[in-house]
């Protein structure tokens, strides 16, 4: 029985997981997800795919908001830039999908450099406001530059073929998303335990102190922003492929709020939290619909007419309730349960 966190060496402190069973359970989960496409019907499978894509995006935002403590209200801007970068490279100029994915990461990263450089010199909420502005500017820019983006008509995107493997079928595409989710998860976990990740967290916890310790605030904030935009862009490309059609309407502003809701619900600054939050937030509208439809068919009708509004209302409600009653999110709740379980009947 583990009764506490006794970490004696530096290696233990930066270990990816703090106990071996976690590896086993993770492996079981991965195997389950690999088998899932063959066992589930296509409706349930679409949720699995959406969750895997959203995990990539949420982990991207987690680097910025969770680790570094900077709010971005315009991450949908990077999502849409990534999706368009992929669509333009692959569908319009017939580049290989691998180049498309690299472009989907690099183009938002460059865009984030342009937005971030002026706004990250400042403290506090300014990044939230400039990213909000960015997401509106980028939407207008996409609609205006018709020769490149087809304006409001959008660009159709095919399922890709990577390294000789075709990801055309639904099952295969889920596997592709799973691959991206796992790679992103490892990448962000490793960033967190590196020198760079510790610098991010130091900035979040107290930026003046971090600066005194010799951390270049401007450079590290910008680095967090660029990394976050890169990962979000790739999530955008995946989402574009999933929709098989990239247009401005496919990426509503609500996605930015959804991403923040995911981080808050899951628990800020934790990769596990981002995953748990994604599962809850993606399934929340569907779960609410099922619960309500048990009561009356009238409620069910309301869901089908005002689905988008109901979804955003739920996100807002979840954000407020979690911040008020469980600010550490699902991860915090999980830690509390685990501690109670281990120490019962003692409280500590």
């Amino acid at each position: 029985m583990r009764t506490g966190d006794y970490k004696q060496t530096y290696g233990e402190l930066v270990a990816l997981v703090d106990s071996p069973p976690v590896w086993m359970w993770s492996a079981v989960l991965v195997v389950a997800l690999i088998v899932a496409p063959y066992a589930l019907n296509s409706y349930a499978l679409s949720f699995v795919t959406i969750i895997l894509i959203t995990v990539v995006g949420a982990l991207g935002l987690n680097i910025l908001t969770g680790y570094t403590g900077l709010i971005s209200l315009g991450h949908v801007g990077f999502l849409v830039t990534g999706a368009y970068a992929y669509a333009i490279l692959v569908s319009k100029y017939q580049m290989p999908p691998l180049v498309g994915f690299i472009g989907a990461g690099l183009v938002p990263a460059i865009a984030s450099l342009i937005v971030g450089a002026p706004s990250l010199r400042l403290k506090g909420l300014y990044l939230a406001i400039t990213t909000l502005a960015f997401s509106f500017i980028i939407n207008t820019a996409i609609l205006e530059v018709r020769w490149l983006t087809n304006g409001a008509r959008g660009i159709a995107v095919q399922r890709p073929e990577l390294l000789g493997i075709s990801f055309d079928g639904d099952a295969a595409f889920t596997h592709l998303c799973l691959g991206f989710a796992i790679v992103t998860l490892f990448a962000t976990l490793n960033i967190r335990r590196s020198r760079v990740g510790r610098a991010f967290v130091a900035i979040r916890d107290n930026d003046t102190a971090a600066r005194v310790m010799g951390i270049n605030l401007h450079a590290y904030k910008l680095l967090a922003f660029v990394t976050s935009a890169f990962i979000t862009g790739i999530a955008g490309a995946l989402y574009g492929i999933y929709l098989s059609f990239v247009s401005v309407e496919g990426f509503p502003f609500l996605l930015s709020i959804e991403a923040l809701a995911i981080l808050i619900v899951g628990g800020l600054g934790s990769a596990l939290g981002a995953v748990l939050g994604t599962i809850l937030i993606v399934l929340l509208p569907e779960a609410t619909r099922i619960v309500f439809s048990l009561f009356s068919t009238q409620m069910d009708a309301m869901f089908s007419t005002g689905a988008q509004e109901l979804k955003s209302m739920l996100y807002g409600l979840v954000i407020i309730l979690f911040l008020r009653f469980q600010p550490r999110g699902l991860v915090g709740a999980w830690h509390d349960i685990r501690r109670t379980w281990v120490h019962w009947p003692l409280r500590y």
Binding site: G69, I71, L73, V115, P118, S119, R121, L122, K123, G124, L125, Y126, A128, I129, T130, L132, A133, F134, F136, I137, T140, A141, L143, E144, T208, L254, I257, L260, A261, I264, G306, Q308, E309, L310, S312, M313, Y315, G316, L317, V318, I319, I320, L323, R324, P327
Partner: protein, 290 residues
């Protein structure tokens, strides 16, 4: 020349609405230190309430304005008491996120309480066009510009001379010392939310009179952001003037550069302002002591 004057005047009119909403941002920022992302949504809700009153009361101007002001005060107080007060003392990040959550809830509630179609708020004036030489201007637009100027003077006097205004500035400057001086910070916060809600409501009603009500009205709040950044987040008067500047810029950009530029002119301006003078034209530079 006539085209330019017309653009300037309609820019001033829409700018006055941005200015009012921006003042709402600044009033809350000045007394609680947080940016209220739900300002545009509050504007929209109060405009819709005013519309409901006008349709039931037959467009009586007096009833509509009294009803809208009362509704605005109630809305502001309820939001402060139910949603914001429990977050007192929490980190800034959490408090700001709460206002974002509130914004999404208010925004989507429109479609459930009212509907998604545009409506005109008819109170018997506002849509008539007054001719000044060759230039046409709506009476509603004249009224909103006048209201903004009057409010600017009133708020300046309030913060400068009234005891409560000074107390609000004290809480904004240093809430702990203000508490020690016997000022009730929660009361100041409640007053700030109510005041900001009323200012937002005035903007919303004027917008509904001159243009139309629609569930997309919350975007006024986003348009007012550049105004308050330009004027300075902590400068109430600066925000009002910033609104006029943004309105004119937007209309000139729309008139000479195309409608796409009209939509983003304000946002481009935010990024430029933050690069050159991050605390705004009238804002105070933040000095941090360790």
């Amino acid at each position: 020349m006539q085209y330019l004057t017309q653009l300037l005047i309609s820019g001033l009119a829409i700018g006055a609405i941005y200015g009012l909403i921006a003042m709402g941002f600044a009033v809350i920022y000045k007394s609680t230190g947080l940016v209220n992302f739900a300002q545009g949504e509050m504007t929209m809700i109060i405009a819709y309430i005013a519309w409901t009153i006008s349709t039931t009361a037959g467009g009586n101007l007096f009833l509509v304005s009294i009803g809208a002001i009362i509704a605005a005060i109630v809305l502001g107080l309820v939001i402060e008491r139910v949603v914001m007060r429990p977050m007192l003392g929490e980190p800034l990040f959490a408090t700001v996120m709460v206002t974002i959550g509130l914004a999404v809830i208010l925004r989507s509630s429109i479609n459930f309480i009212w509907d998604a179609y545009p409506h005109g708020l008819d109170v018997g004036f506002g849509r008539d066009i007054v001719r000044l030489g060759a230039i046409g201007i709506r009476t509603g637009q004249i009224a909103v510009i006048t209201t903004l100027l009057l409010l600017l003077v009133a708020i300046w006097a309030f913060f400068r001379y009234s005891k409560f205004g000074v107390a609000m500035r004290a809480v904004a400057a240093d809430d702990r010392t203000a508490l020690l001086m016997g000022i009730s910070a929660p009361r100041v916060h409640a007053a700030a939310w109510a005041a900001s809600s009323v200012i937002a409501g005035i903007a919303g009603v004027f917008f509904a009179i001159s243009y139309d009500l629609s569930p997309a009205m919350f975007q006024l709040g986003l348009k007012a952001f550049p105004a308050t950044i330009l004027g300075g987040l902590d400068a109430v008067l600066g925000s009002g003037i910033g609104g006029l500047l943004i309105g004119i810029t937007e209309n000139l950009a729309g008139g000479y550069l195309g409608s796409g530029m009209k939509e983003v002119a304000g946002f481009v301006m935010i990024i430029v302002v933050l690069m050159i003078r991050p605390f705004g034209i009238f804002g105070e530079r933040d000095i941090e002591r360790v």
